[in-house]
């Protein structure tokens, strides 16, 4: 973990060139402006925590970073050309854990992970069973996911993070329905991911208690446009 960036959060250090930069992003949902002119950049091994009250656009920002939503203005830019060492292909590899788990109830945990490995092109060579072991849910890998508890399903969803060498993790309230052990396992995985040069962007209301390290914070309240006075 690079501690320098924590002291001077607004300036990029020379050692850590911006890999991902967001330029004057403006997002609108159902005609309501959520935030505007949001800019930040992140380099290797950096993490960003998004703060803000309910409805301030945390999920929208994360989904925009994932490319699911189109921003009203601004852009998300990846500095891919310079990053030879991490072996980029043509586009960054993004892992997204959202409010909906993306886990199919009829399928077993293993089958779910196999499907995700297949659509993402499994490059790290880790088998789905190993991924499940990392989140300590390998014992229920043969059950249809619909029979698992909410916490177990969340663990299966989080096991996806180990399937591949992702460049960016987008975690939207990842600790939802996880127990303390689950949170510890997630923190372990996150630590490894950051050490390997990955980026994490997350929002979580519980993080104060479990303390996932972050280099930067963005409070979306600071980017909220005041409604025009009539």
């Amino acid at each position: 973990m690079n501690t320098e960036t924590k002291d001077i959060p607004s300036v990029d250090t020379h050692a850590n060139q911006a890999l991902l930069s967001v330029e004057s992003l403006t997002c609108v949902r159902s005609d309501i402006p959520l935030f505007s002119n949001l800019s930040f950049s992140l380099g290797k091994s950096q993490s960003l925590r998004i703060l803000g009250p309910n409805g301030s656009g945390k999920t929208t920002l994360i989904r925009t970073m994932a490319g699911i939503h189109k921003p009203a203005m601004g852009q998300v830019h990846w500095n891919i050309g310079q990053q030879g060492s991490r072996g980029f292909a043509s586009k960054p590899k993004i892992a997204y854990i959202g409010h909906t788990t993306g886990i199919r109830g009829e399928l077993t945990a293993i089958e779910n992970l196999e499907f995700h490995a297949r659509i993402n092109g499994n490059l790290s060579g880790i088998s789905p069973t190993e991924c499940l072991e990392k989140m300590n849910v390998a014992h229920c890998s043969k059950l249809p996911c619909i029979r698992l508890s909410a916490g177990q399903r969340q663990r299966v969803a989080l096991s996806r993070l180990s399937l591949n060498q992702y460049d960016l993790w987008l975690l939207d309230e990842p600790a939802t329905s996880l127990d303390d052990q689950g949170i510890d396992l997630l923190l372990d995985l996150a630590g490894h991911h950051l050490n390997a040069g990955g980026i994490i962007i997350y929002c979580s209301h519980q993080s104060i208690h479990y303390g996932l390290k972050h280099d930067r914070e963005i409070d979306l309240r600071n980017f909220k446009e005041q409604p025009p006075q009539c």
Binding site: I68, K70, Y96, T100, G102, L107
Partner: protein
């Protein structure tokens, strides 16, 4: 990606058959009710058989359309597939192919049994098979546009039917007339060619329209 999605759907079906059995059961029920309600007389049944088979096939396809994208949409799999592929076209195409494999194809097999029940003579079976082989994929293709447009709605059944049915009418007309023509010994290749043309047109254009409709619903 395409094969991965179809493989997953195959697995889902093997774990939980209820979704696949529903449209096929529906097809069997409607077609078997007609002889009971109208007439058991072979001559009259033969006259209305093409219509019965095609209407039932069309309604059974509609029934299966509702879940075409909805499950993936609700459980978040659509987001994951979109991030992995960043092309909704492939996702749409894969889902349409599995829709046909698990509703259209079993329906064609079932229609052989139904044909016996409705006293369709053996010489008209080829027209029946060809018309369904050309027609049911078109139904899946065209229907996917409606399914994608209504994916965000909780109860989309009626709206989906309203959007899709007008587009189904030409397929219904030519499909039924294919079999009717063969029953009375007239050539039916003209209808078959037209249905082939409609299939090619829908394969070319429908996945694009479906992908665009999904995109609207996602953002």
């Amino acid at each position: 990606m395409l094969i991965a999605i179809i493989k997953r759907d195959l697995r889902c079906v093997s774990h939980d058959l209820s979704g696949t059995i529903q449209p096929i059961g529906f097809f069997l029920i409607i077609t078997s009710l007609f002889p009971l309600a109208v007439t058991p007389d072979p001559e009259s049944l033969q006259d209305i058989a093409p219509g019965i088979i095609w209407i039932s096939a069309l309604l059974a396809t509609l029934l299966a359309l509702d879940t075409l994208f909805k499950e993936d949409f609700i459980d978040g799999t659509m987001d994951q597939m979109f991030i992995a592929a960043s092309s909704l076209y492939v996702i749409a195409l894969a889902r349409i192919i599995s829709h046909w494999l698990f509703s259209g194809l079993p329906l064609i097999v079932m229609s052989l049994v139904i044909a016996m029940m409705l006293h369709i003579p053996a010489h008209a079976i080829d027209a029946l098979i060809v018309s369904l082989l050309l027609g049911t994929p078109t139904l899946s293709m065209v229907g996917s546009i409606g399914a994608a447009l209504t994916v965000g709605l909780r109860y989309s059944g009626v709206l989906l039917t309203l959007i899709t049915l007008p587009l189904y009418i030409p397929i219904l007309i030519f499909g039924a007339s294919c079999i009717s023509a063969d029953l009375v010994g007239l050539p039916w290749t003209g209808q078959a060619y037209l249905m082939g043309a409609m299939l090619v047109l829908s394969i070319t254009l429908a996945p694009f329209a479906t992908a665009a409709a999904l995109r609207v619903n996602m953002s």
